[in-house]
Structures are given as structure tokens and as C-alpha cells.
């Protein structure tokens, strides 16, 4: 159902360019799932490193920034191409709220959820963003999603089916 939904959500009228971005997004989703494994290990006090969740989220953020800066420098010879983008964000209030404030909150809440919820459960909750992001495309970017609704619904149902936490009823 997940795969069928992923195919259907592209609509019936898609091009090779659509397929490229879709494959990138699917690949990113898979790699992000591996990232979740390291996050869980980093804050696990029993079998893992047991870091304070906020400190771990912060250390991850710093490392990611350094990593991206190194790649950008290796590719272009400078990291100052990011400066005008930072200025752009800081001069547009909704971008400050959406990018910076929401980014910090999402990182922290994700770690906090992982403290008690297991990867598969927290993952299930996070995947509820399937529909939220699809409708955001329509709401914020004026994209036509009329032929994607059924695909989104199938994708959403598949995601729920695979990852919602189910526990067998206790035997009497």
C-alpha cells in the first residue's frame, strides 16, 4: 500500500523530472529512518550513550552544520553564499518562524518523543505528516492536488498499517 500510494500520489500526468524528485525524496526518507536509529541510541540511557536529549539534538545540529559547510566549501571554495540566504530569512518574519523557530521546536520535540516512545511508534506519529505536507503544497504553493488525493489517502493508510503500534490483547 505504501508503494502503491507513493506511485499514485504523483498523479496521472507526471514527467521524468517528477520521478527524479520523487526518488530523491524517497531515498531521503529511507536515510532519515537510519538517522532515527542513531538518535535513539544517542539518548538511550540503558544500551546507548545516554546523552541528555536536548544536548544530543544540539550536538547533531552543530555537526550537521559543520558537515554541510565542509561540503559547500569543497564544492565552491566559499561558505559565504549562505550569508545572503540568512539575511533573507531574517528579513521575512514568516521565514524566521517557519525555518528557525519551527526547526528548533521540531528537533527538540522529536528527541523528547524518542525518550519514551520506541522508534517504530514515534515514526508512526511523524508519518502522519503525509497528509499535512500534501495539503501544504496546495495551501502554500497553489499546487493542484486534485488527482493526488486518492494517492495520498492510500499512502496514509499504508503508513498507518505498517507502523501504528499494535499490541496483542493479553491472554486470559
Amino acid at each position: 500500500m505504501v508503494v502503491a500510494g507513493a506511485l499514485l500520489i504523483q498523479g496521472f500526468d507526471y514527467t521524468a523530472a517528477d520521478l527524479y524528485s520523487s526518488l530523491l525524496a524517497l531515498g531521503a526518507a529511507t536515510v532519515f529512518a537510519v538517522v532515527g536509529r542513531f538518535e535513539r541510541y544517542g539518548i538511550n540511557p540503558i544500551n546507548g550513550a545516554g546523552m541528555i536529549p536536548s544536548a544530543f539534538a544540539y550536538a547533531c545540529g552543530v555537526l550537521a552544520t559543520v558537515g554541510v559547510a565542509c561540503i559547500l566549501y569543497a564544492k565552491t571554495g566559499t561558505i559565504y553564499t549562505a550569508v545572503p540566504i540568512i539575511e533573507h530569512i531574517l528579513t521575512v518574519p514568516h521565514l524566521v518562524l517557519f525555518v528557525a523557530v519551527a526547526g528548533v521546536a521540531a528537533n527538540w520535540l522529536n528527541m523528547a518523543a524518542l525518550v519514551d516512545g520506541e522508534i517504530v511508534e514515534v515514526s508512526a506519529m511523524l508519518r502522519l505528516g503525509v497528509l499535512a505536507t500534501m495539503f501544504s503544497g496546495w495551501w502554500f504553493f497553489g499546487e493542484d492536488i486534485s488527482d493526488r488525493l486518492h494517492g495520498g489517502a492510500v499512502l496514509f493508510a499504508g503508513v498507518l498499517l505498517v507502523t501504528l503500534p499494535l499490541r496483542r490483547a493479553a491472554k486470559k
Partner: protein, 146 residues
């Protein structure tokens, strides 16, 4: 019966946090799409966003960590490979982020966004077979981390 239990677990505190995280994460992705649409440089946009998040996160983390250190918590458990784990995290996160930002740049948000959320099967496999989380609902974590 099983569905009822599933939803009852979803509304527990970690489930609520994860749901709120979904909203914030979606907002962040909308902002990212806005930016890559204008600047057309995924790498620079990613660096700018990450740098801003780190700057904004700093005071919050300092307060939280100091509070927990004063209460007797350790920052980490030595000998558990913190550095190695963080480096692995960095490698995978940077790769995934670059892929996603590039997807955002060239694709429509209503397609790329939902597909970003479909690491479901991978998360399931990792959780059950790599992290050995076959017993759902353990309480030990929360007790030890308060």
C-alpha cells in the same frame, strides 16, 4: 480492540510531542521550499537554515543542560561511543538532508513532502531487527530520564 489501544498509545505524551513535531517539521519544510525556490542553491540554503537553528537553539540547550547537570544527570555515559554515534548521525543526516533539499528544489511540495514521510518501512525494519525493539511499551526509559 487493537485499534483502540493503538490510538490510546498515540495520545500519550510522547505521541503528542511527535504529533506537534510533525506540524513544526512541515512548517520548516514549507520555509525550505520557499527558500530553494528563490535561491536555487540547496547546499547554501541547507547551511543557512542549519546555522540559524544552531544559533537559536544554543540558549535553550545551555539552560536545559545546566538544569539537568545540577540535578545530577550525566551529560553522557563514557565508553558508549558517543563520538562515533554522532559522526554516523552526521554522515547520514547530511546525505538525507541534501537529497531532500534537492528534491524540494526540483519537485512539487505536495509530492515531495508526503514522500519524505515514507521512511515507514525502513523505520519498521530498523526498529524491529536492528534496534531489537520487539517489546513495545517498555517503561524503563522514562523512569531513568525523567
Amino acid at each position: 480492540m487493537r485499534l483502540t489501544e493503538s490510538f490510546s498509545r498515540a495520545v500519550r505524551w510522547w505521541g503528542t510531542l511527535a504529533l506537534i513535531a510533525v506540524v513544526f517539521r512541515t512548517m520548516q519544510q514549507i520555509g525550505a521550499k520557499d527558500l530553494v525556490g528563490v535561491h536555487q542553491d540547496s547546499l547554501s540554503v541547507l547551511l543557512a537554515v542549519d546555522a540559524l537553528i544552531v544559533v537559536l537553539f544554543t540558549p535553550l540547550v545551555v539552560v536545559d543542560v545546566l538544569r539537568k547537570l545540577r540535578a545530577g544527570r550525566r551529560l553522557w555515559h563514557p565508553g558508549h561511543g558517543v563520538g562515533r554515534n554522532l559522526l554516523k548521525w552526521m554522515a547520514f543526516d547530511v546525505l538525507a538532508s541534501l537529497m531532500f533539499y534537492e528534491a524540494l528544489r526540483v519537485g512539487e511540495f505536495s509530492v515531495v513532502g508526503p514522500l519524505r514521510q515514507t521512511g515507514t518501512v525502513a523505520a519498521f525494519v530498523i526498529s524491529y531487527y536492528w534496534a531489537k525493539e520487539k517489546k513495545i511499551g517498555s517503561k524503563n526509559w522514562r523512569v531513568r530520564l525523567w
